[in-house]
C-alpha cells in the first residue's frame, strides 16, 4: 500500500516526466542519425562494390577484345599503310605543277613564232623564266601576241618582259617571266567521300 502512494510533490513529478520525455527524444534522434549515416555509408560502399565489379568486367572484356584485335594486326597494319600511302600520293600529285603541259605551251609559242629557246628556269611554284632569240621584230611580235592570247588566260598569268636586248648582227635576245597556273595531276580523285 505504501508503494502506491506518490510522495513526490506535483511540480517535481511534472519536471521529472518532462525530463524523461526530452531524454527519450534526444536518444531517438541520436540513434536515428546514426542509422541514417550508417545507411549512407553502406550505400556508398555498395556502389563502390558495383563499380569495382563493373571495372573488372570491362577489364576482362577489353582483354578479350584486345587479343582479337592483336590477332588481326596484319589487317590493321595493311589498312593503315594503304591509306597513308594513298593520302601521300593524293597530296603529292595535287601539289605538282603540270610541267609537261606548261612547258609544251612555251615550246609551241616559240616554235610557231620562229624564236629559239636559249635558256630557261622553271619552278614548281609556277614561276617560269624563258630566254629566247628572235631574228626579227616580226618574230618577237608573234611571241608577245601568242603569250597574251586570251586562250591562254587559264594557263598563264603575270606575263612580264624582263629584258630585251639587240646587238648589231645578232638576233633580239629577250627574257620573259610568267606564272604557270595549271596544277594538280589528280583531277577527279578528290571528289566524293563516301565510305567503302
Amino acid at each position: 500500500m505504501a508503494k502506491d502512494i506518490d510522495l513526490m510533490p506535483r511540480e517535481a513529478a511534472k519536471k521529472e516526466r518532462t525530463r524523461g520525455s526530452v531524454n527519450k527524444t534526444v536518444n531517438i534522434t541520436a540513434v536515428v542519425s546514426l542509422l541514417v549515416v550508417a545507411a549512407v555509408l553502406a550505400a556508398l560502399f555498395g556502389y563502390q562494390l558495383f563499380l569495382a565489379s563493373s571495372a573488372q568486367r570491362i577489364d576482362s572484356q577489353t582483354k578479350d577484345s584486345q587479343e582479337q584485335v592483336i590477332a588481326q594486326s596484319a589487317k590493321d597494319i595493311t589498312r593503315r599503310a594503304l591509306v597513308e600511302k594513298l593520302d601521300d600520293t593524293k597530296e603529292f600529285l595535287n601539289s605538282r605543277l603540270l610541267f609537261a603541259g606548261s612547258y609544251k605551251i612555251v615550246l609551241d609559242i616559240l616554235n610557231k613564232s620562229g624564236a629559239t629557246l636559249t635558256e630557261g628556269k622553271l619552278k614548281n611554284d609556277g614561276i617560269f623564266t624563258i630566254s629566247a632569240d628572235a631574228k626579227t621584230t616580226k618574230i618577237l611580235n608573234k611571241v608577245v601576241n601568242a603569250l597574251n592570247d586570251e586562250k591562254l588566260k587559264e594557263d598563264l598569268k603575270n606575263i612580264k618582259l624582263i629584258t630585251l636586248t639587240k646587238i648589231p648582227n645578232e638576233p633580239y635576245k629577250f627574257t620573259v617571266e610568267y606564272k604557270a597556273l595549271k596544277r594538280g595531276l589528280l583531277e577527279k580523285a578528290s571528289e566524293g567521300e563516301g565510305e567503302k
Binding site: 526530452v22 531524454n23 556508398l44 563502390q48 570491362i58 584486345q66 595493311t78 593503315r80 600520293t89 603529292f92
Partner: protein, 246 residues
Amino acid sequence: MDKVNTSVLRLYIVPLLVVLVILLLVPFVLLPQLQTIRDKNLEVRSGQERLDSINSKLEILGSIDEEKESSKLLEMEKLVPSSKELASLVVGVRSLAAKSGLSVAAMELSPGKVATSGATLLSSKKAKAFAVREKKEDSEKITFDLTLKSKKVSDLQKFLTDIQKTKRLFGVETIEIERDEKGVYTYVLEIIAPVRELRSSGDVVASPLPAFTDSHQSVFDFVADFINFTNVTFQKAKTGVKDPFK
C-alpha cells in the same frame, strides 16, 4: 546522486558524442569515399569508351578483305615505297630519259642526311626542333639532281610527260635549261621522290582504323594505269664473306 549522474550522461554527453561522431565521419570517411567513387567512375567510363572503340574496330577489321587490301598495298608500295631503294630509282630514271631521247650527263643523289647541318647547332631548343623537323623531312623523300642533254628541245617535254605517269612517284622541283653554241640543250632537273615508312604511336590497339573512302579508291584507280619504270631486281651481294662474288 547516481541517478543524477547517469541522467546527465544520457541527456547531454551521449547525444553530443553522437553529433561529434557524425561530424567527424563527414570529412574523414564520407568525403574520401565520394572522391574514390568519383575516380572509380571516371576509370570505368574511360574503360568502357576504350572497350567500345576496340569493339567497333573489331567490326571493321572483320569486314576487311585482307587479300584485296594486301594487293592494293603492294601496288601502292611501288608508288611510295617504305624504304629508299636507290638502285631501282637510278635505273628507272635512266631508262625514262633514254626513252625520251635524252642522255644522262650526271646524276647526284641526296638520299637523306643522317646529321643535318642544323643538328650541329644544339645550343637552343629552336635549333634542335629545326634539326628534328629537317631530319624527318629528309627521311620522307629522296632528292636528286639530274643533268640531261639533247639536241631537240622537245625531248624534255616527252620526259616531263612520262615522269607524270610513272608508278614510282617523281616530282620536278626546278628545271634549268641552257643551250650551247653547238645547239645542244642541257637540262638540270631537281627531282624529288617521296618515301613513306609506316609510323605508329600511341594506343595502336584501340586507335580507330582509318577509313578507306571513295576518294582513296579514286586515287588508286587513277594511278593504276601508271607505268612501272623501276621494276628492276638486283641480286644483293653476300656480306661478311671474303669474296662476295663467289
